[in-house]
Amino acid sequence: MTDDVSPTQSFSLDGDDLPFASGETILQAATRAGRYIPHLCWHPDFAAHGSCRICSVKVNGRVGAACTVQAAAGLEVESNTPEMNRQRKTLLQMLFVEGNHFCPSCEKSGNCLLQATAYQMGMEGPHFEEFYPNRPVDASHPDILLDFNRCILCELCVRASREADGKNIFAIGGHGMGTHLLVNSASGQLGDTAMSLDDRAAHICPVGVILPKRRGFVIPIGQRRFDLKPVSQQREGDAT
């Protein structure tokens, strides 16, 4: 990404002019300008993925993922509209019923991007019937717990382990509703990998799948990142 923002290059986000640098996506430009477009699978340090679709926006009347659509001069982008937020809420509800999410007892509560985004979108219930999948926990690693119940398949851990840690600890397996996170070892257990608590992948999970052990409630629920300020009022990349 370059910083040579040309003042003549801009697009419209919810009616406001937004400058962008060439090569930037709508989400990159919006984030740099401090504008909030809800997202889960996107992270500024990694290439766009486009899987969660929470950042869906209307671009010149057609819906696209803000993390993958290239910014271009003159685009009319609608993001914070009742229609788009309603669709986002439905997508979030889909993610909630697909996995097993028990926010009140989850140690990631208050630090969870999924939970914070659901609050932001006014989600009050699951709306759809729950799938209640059977996803056993992997506690084999001395320092890290994997609770697959909350996995939303954003692949941030896959990307972080591959690109930042150079370890390729994770991969995606299966297909359709059976799509799931794989751990790279003969046993399939995290304890048999070279994963370390110092890895980038150990801290990138936007939900509560990858959890450092013995740290869960060091900061009490109620005083955590998204307990203090809603996700829309925080800068991307703020420490969790």
Binding site: A48, G50, S51, C52, R53, I54, S56, R62, V63, A65, T68, Q70, Q87, T90, L91, M94, L95, V97, E98, F128, E129, F131, I152, L153, N168, F170, A171, I172, G173, G174, H175, G176, M177, G178, T179, L182, V183, N184, S185, A186
Partner: protein, 603 residues
């Protein structure tokens, strides 16, 4: 040959020989896994580990690919693996009863391995044999057509006696072409090399100009202008250009590419070679769907003959510097790989997940090279245009939809098979020609296409009216259009790649609601939820699979609403289960079945 069930360690030399035939290249992964499974029956963990280390991949990456494709198995499967084609046309012809009959005769439950490891019986998506169904696929290799109770009974005996599949009655494997109406594409095949000679004489620039003059639009469904696509790819900078023929004909109800590959393989390869000439490409791939595995050897024989005839290889037709060859990649059961960027991922030996676009394959495709992807029928048309000129093609059809189009006709009609017409032909003409009577609806273009009711039969099949990728499924008035839509909902959920939220979860929710309606527990609220899913999937999915998953639902609710309303219990919310039925276990355990053991009003 039926795959033996040796342990992978015993088969290690086989694996070594297999790996030796491929360069140690991760992009060969899918082909290696497919062939390894053909040798060993399934993909055992230690074999996957060996493949991973040979190719420089992690075990999890290899497991991820193996787990993506429906025809690859990471758990033991039956020595006989029977997959019933599960398109609605197979069901109309009685496939469900035949499946139940076979299972009963063999003592197996659908989807489960028999206790002795001999056989497993399951359903698979459309196998592309709708004009001669019910069909099934056995051991991911042979296809059986025109099943009936006698064949099923005999088949059960052969399986129990462990007779190898190639020794079964040859008539069972007969695949007919059923060409009912031929025009330029299905007519007499051109002499091999005729189109290529013309385009070499004309030159690359003039050949491209002819393609553009023809106004040919891609036959894969999207209908992008072929000449423009070629031009964009040709202009895209890169060290080499790649030509890919998409023979992943997965749209339920479509089987025209199967016939073109059997009858007109020379025209398909010739069209690809013309493209190579225009683009300056040296490498080409035919991506053949796994269901058409039985076509592999005949196609390879055609490639071999064309090499001998100097129509492929180096110095094609004696022209120095014109070097091009074609390799065949066989898929492994994944409908989404028909999407061109997913197809390229699959060619690269990965999970067939559609890529973010742009960049489009024409600029950044196979291994990052500019890649031209066209459908089988498109390349046939190209061969015709290269030989006879673009003006002739442009003179057929309508101004916006030039040329002919092949329709795969199946369902309730006297003469299913292939019908080639100029574009612009009304639906009623096809119905009359195929001998359809008392027709209620036609599904044009497969589940992702459009469902037409009787008052629309004068509409014309053309890009400007009813576009199609080729399927034409006929339903008479005895058919339940709700069940048709429910079958298609199951299809999309089964074939979702699982990458994006709306498609992965939405198609599964769609199935849940349709099944709830089918179970008689529907309410108005369920219809509202279905409409909500339709709107959401149509706009937010990553690729066209999810976007079109609700099309059959939307069309049938709109046009055949009584089929839905008769399934509604009430207008208010209705739970998806029967509370009284849930109590049956408690009744059984307590030995009670008196009125007081039932819920009120539910005796």
């Amino acid at each position: 040959m039926c795959p033996n069930r040796q342990s992978s360690l015993a088969a290690a030399p086989e694996l070594q020989r297999l790996l030796a035939r491929y360069p140690p290249d991760p992009h060969a992964l899918l082909q290696i896994l497919r062939e390894l499974q053909a040798l060993q029956g399934w993909l055992a963990p230690d074999a996957l580990g060996q493949v991973a280390s040979e190719l420089g991949l992690t075990l999890a990456q290899v497991q991820g690919v193996a787990g993506f494709y429906r025809f690859l198995h990471t758990r033991p499967v039956g020595a006989y693996r029977v997959l019933f084609s599960d398109n609605v046309t197979d069901r109309l012809l009685g496939s469900e009863a035949l499946l139940a009959d076979l299972c009963q005769r063999l003592g197996v439950v659908p989807g489960q391995l028999s206790f002795d490891g001999l056989v497993s019986v399951e359903r698979t998506s459309c196998t592309g044999l709708c004009d001669q169904g019910p069909a099934l696929l056995i051991n991911h290799h042979q296809v059986l057509t025109r099943l009936d109770p006698a064949r099923v009974a005999h088949m059960a005996e052969l399986i129990r006696a462990r007779v190898p599949v190639p020794q079964w009655p040859a008539a069972w494997f007969e695949v007919q072409d059923n060409i009912r109406r031929a025009d330029v594409l299905l007519g007499a095949p051109c002499a091999p090399g005729a189109a290529l000679t013309q385009s070499l004489a004309r030159g690359a620039d003039a050949t491209l100009a002819e393609i553009k003059r023809s106004n040919l639009r891609g036959r894969g469904g999207a209908g992008f202008a072929t000449g423009l696509k070629w031009e964009l790819c040709r202009q895209a900078p890169g060290t080499e250009h790649i030509v890919v023929c998409n023979a992943d004909e997965g749209e339920p109800g479509t089987f025209k590419d199967r016939v073109l590959l059997s009858r007109q393989a020379d025209a398909v390869f010739e069209g690809m070679t013309v493209a190579a000439h225009v683009l300056g490409a040296r490498r080409g791939f035919l991506y053949l769907r796994g269901e058409y595995r039985f076509l592999l050897e005949p196609l390879q024989a055609v490639l071999q003959r064309r090499r001998a005839e100097q129509l492929l290889g180096t110095h094609i037709l004696g022209q120095a510097g014109f070097d091009f060859d074609i390799a065949i990649h066989v898929g492994a059961g994944a409908y989404v790989c028909g999407e061109e960027s997913a197809l390229i991922e699959s060619l690269e030996g990965k999970r067939g997940t559609p890529r973010i676009r742009p960049p489009f394959p024409a600029e950044h495709g196979y291994l990052g090279h500019p890649t031209l992807v066209n459908n089988v029928e498109t390349f046939c048309a190209v061969a015709h245009i290269a030989q006879h000129g673009g003006a002739l093609w442009a003179g057929i059809g309508t101004p916006k939809s030039t040329g002919t189009k092949i329709h795969s006709v199946s369902g309730d009609c006297a003469r299913p098979g292939l019908y080639e017409y100029p574009l612009g032909t009304p639906v009623s003409r096809l119905l009359a020609d195929c001998g359809a009577r008392d027709t209620q609806a036609v599904q044009v273009g497969g589940p992702s296409g459009v469902c037409l009711a009787a008052d629309e039969f004068e509409r014309r099949i053309a890009f400007e009216d009813v576009p199609t990728a080729g399927a034409f499924m006929v339903f008479d008035r005895s058919r339940d259009m709700f069940e048709v839509a429910r079958g298609f909902a199951h299809f999309f959920a089964h074939e979702s790649c699982g990458f994006c939220t709306p498609c992965r979860v939405g198609t599964a929710l769609l199935v849940k609601r349709m099944d709830k309606l089918a179970g008689g527990h529907g309410s108005r609220d369920d219809l509202d939820v279905l409409f909500e899913l339709d709107r959401l999937l149509h706009s937010t999915t990553h690729c066209g699979l999810g976007a079109s998953a609700c099309n059959p639902l939307r069309d049938t609710v709109l046009k055949f609403r009584p089929a839905y309303e008769q399934r509604l219990q009430s207008l208010d919310f209705e739970p998806g289960f029967d509370l009284d039925a849930e109590l049956s276990i408690a009744r059984r355990m307590t030995g009670r079945d008196d009125a007081a053991a039932h819920l009120e009003n539910r005796t």
